[in-house]
Symmetry: C2
Subunit: 408 residues, 2 copies
């Protein structure tokens, strides 16, 4: 008998039929003798509908009241699932975040979980109940309703698994696991049976939107066994996220290829190469709440330096205009930009102990005349920025070059 | 400076525009220096939508989970109104029933309020906040969400007014007060400036659906000054429900004429006139959860008695069949019924101290050849059952006979 936390996203509970389907899946696990805690998101589209209502009432909705409003979405699905479970003859009980007492700080709309009181849940589990908990929400020390921000339901699932010392936290979504890359681009892409926590972090932050990065960090911190599964398939073991590199002796060098078309690049050419110049350029960008991703600085001619960084494409026009206004003050020769770029990254813990990975990547791209505009590396990933039009080609040839279509 | 509780029903908060309109009305009261507590229903249609969802999932929805589900309706409106109030520059804060701690018993779907913790509300009021409370809901001692049953928002309003010792509880609805009778039948019907609590109880239970009867009882018990107003008109003082008869020396003898087309009558003829016969007939009816309204027993011929009672028209066929099956056992000569009847009542505390009211009523009906089938009286009302086709005529001639078109 195991204790399993299962989290279902919005599309998995998007209709009465889907909710009944989830109930049947939960019943199967109960039948096997497991204890089950279910964490739910709101029905797909519901949170957006509520946010629109809020904006119709107040142009910049009050953050406390917004949480009161949008937390109703999960409250609806937990009640409906508990009913569906009872309809199958199971004992079930729903809990809002406040009823569990998922204690958070008071940062409305993006609260962080501080503590979970698991005693009541434990008692209900022991008396045979399926526990159905509203994801994404908690309560602060003054009883105010808080929400954890988009995708917070994953975090609720992992946090509950940690508090209850669950054997596994299963995240059900509309894909059946983590793939070596997007199968829509590379049909040979293969589902990974396991991926390490660190690889997952890199894959998630690079745009493989299977899991919220916060929930993965949380799982890492509390060593929660995390598995990604499809709620639309009845079979399949999904992808297990592991925390020990040597769990799998046959670990591939490269686990996957992530990519991202959401970025744009800004280049500041010929700035005086003096201390503090990076801060002079990037300080105002950060002050405007613009997130900067990659940053590269190169030595240029005549004691000047060239400076390139990437921002989200939505911030491109604003950032370019800001830099052009600053151009005289920082003494730059030219400010240019390009919003037709893409970032491609190979990710794998195996590259720590293998040499030649980067050169293999660069050669593969060069063989197809794909020009690399920027390079950035970390312990377990190498990212390059290329012209957007070569994105699919780059992903395909890299997938093949690193033999990702074959099981490790 | 007064402390006012205002309750707005579902049509008053049925859209973003209506919610903004409510905010403007509340702002007006704040501007006059009053403290305001607002109690809201769910947007019109929302509770029914949620109940339908529940029935789609479970044919007989679990009562605990149903309350978790439908309580979200009010949670949405309180958040939106608090936003609208902030948009007008006011301080505002929403409270769910659980956040106030409106403690109820644990009778899900029809809970009764046991206690209200008003300390936090008081502190927020004193710091200048408008308090926006979700009507219709509370929390039991174990933290389970409960609801008070249909129309429970009126009860929440009155209970808060009692707990906070408010100067007045204003119930905003889609009519501008209590009328002498339905203006659709008698165009000369007049809005009453005041009506006594007891008259209101009789009017409400007789089908004038302005206020929930439970909230009126509650107001009577705690001596809450209750006023019914229209949320669709900006002027008008509505109807004040009073608790002291001598508040108004010019009290009319008759305050209004109520009527009801929802009943049907069953007659059991020629049953042996023995002790316990009423119980023999009505016991099985009550056991089948059929509400009986009027009951009349007359002496018949040959030591037999005739027995007539009314039930809701929806229960007519079922009751008739039940009685016909019982006919041999109770030894009745005949069981007949009629579902084309109507009940008309004149209501007024003044009739206590005036004679001749009943005879005036009967003469008025006789003058227009309206046959009276049943009569029932209480301290402050006289009800008759007539053929349904004479209903409008009866209400019109009685309204004129008692001079109700003229202010008292």
């Amino acid at each position: 008998m195991a204790l399993i936390v299962q989290k279902y996203g919005g599309t998995s509970v998007g209709s009465v039929e889907r909710i009944k389907h989830v109930a049947e899946r939960v019943a199967k696990f109960k039948m096997l003798g497991h204890q089950v805690v279910v964490v739910l998101s709101a029905m797909s589209g519901e949170t957006n509908r509520l946010i629109k209502l809020a904006h119709d009432v107040q142009s910049n909705p009050d953050s406390r009241e917004l949480d009161v409003l949008i937390s109703t979405g999960e409250q609806v699905t937990i009640a409906l699932l508990a009913m569906a479970l009872k309809d199958l003859g199971l004992k079930a009980k729903s809990y809002t975040g406040s009823q569990v007492r998922i204690l958070t700080d008071n940062a409305f709309n993006k609260a962080r979980i501080l503590n979970i009181d698991e005693q009541h849940l434990r008692a209900d589990l022991d008396s045979g109940h399926v526990i159905v908990v509203a994801g994404f929400q908690g309560v602060d020390e003054h009883g105010n309703i808080t929400t954890l921000g988009r995708g917070g339901s994953d975090t609720t699932g992992v946090a509950l698994a940690a508090a209850l010392k669950a054997d596994e936290c299963q995240i059900y979504t509309d894909v059946d696991g983590v793939y070596t890359t997007d199968p829509r681009i590379v049909p040979e892409a293969r589902r990974l049976k396991t991926i390490t926590f660190e690889e997952m972090l890199e894959m998630a932050s690079l745009g493989s939107k299977v899991l919220q990065i916060r929930s993965v960090e949380f799982a890492g911190k509390y060593k929660v066994k995390l598995r990604v599964l499809s709620s639309f398939q009845d079979e399949g073991e999904g992808t297990l996220i592991t925390f020990e590199e040597d769990d799998n002796m046959e670990q591939a060098i490269i686990s996957g290829i992530a990519f991202n078309r959401d970025e744009a690049k800004i280049t500041v050419l010929g700035v005086p190469d003096t201390p503090g110049i990076a801060y002079q350029i990037l300080g105002p960008v950060a002050d405007s709440n613009i997130d900067v991703d990659m940053i590269i600085q190169n030595v240029g001619a005549n004691n000047t330096t060239d400076f390139t960084f990437t921002v989200h494409r939505n911030d491109y026009a604003r950032t370019l205009q800001m830099l052009r206004e600053m151009q005289p003050k920082i003494g730059a020769r030219e400010v240019t930009g390009d919003d037709k770029i893409a970032k491609v990254s190979i990710v794998g813990v195996g590259m720590r102990s293998h040499v030649g990975i980067a050169s293999n990547m660069f050669k593969t791209l060069a063989d197809d005349s794909i020009n690399i505009q920027m390079i950035s590396t970390s312990e377990i990933k190498i990212s390059v920025v290329i012209d957007e039009k070569y994105l699919e080609l780059a992903v395909r040839v890299l997938h093949k070059a690193f033999n990702l279509e074959k099981a490790a």
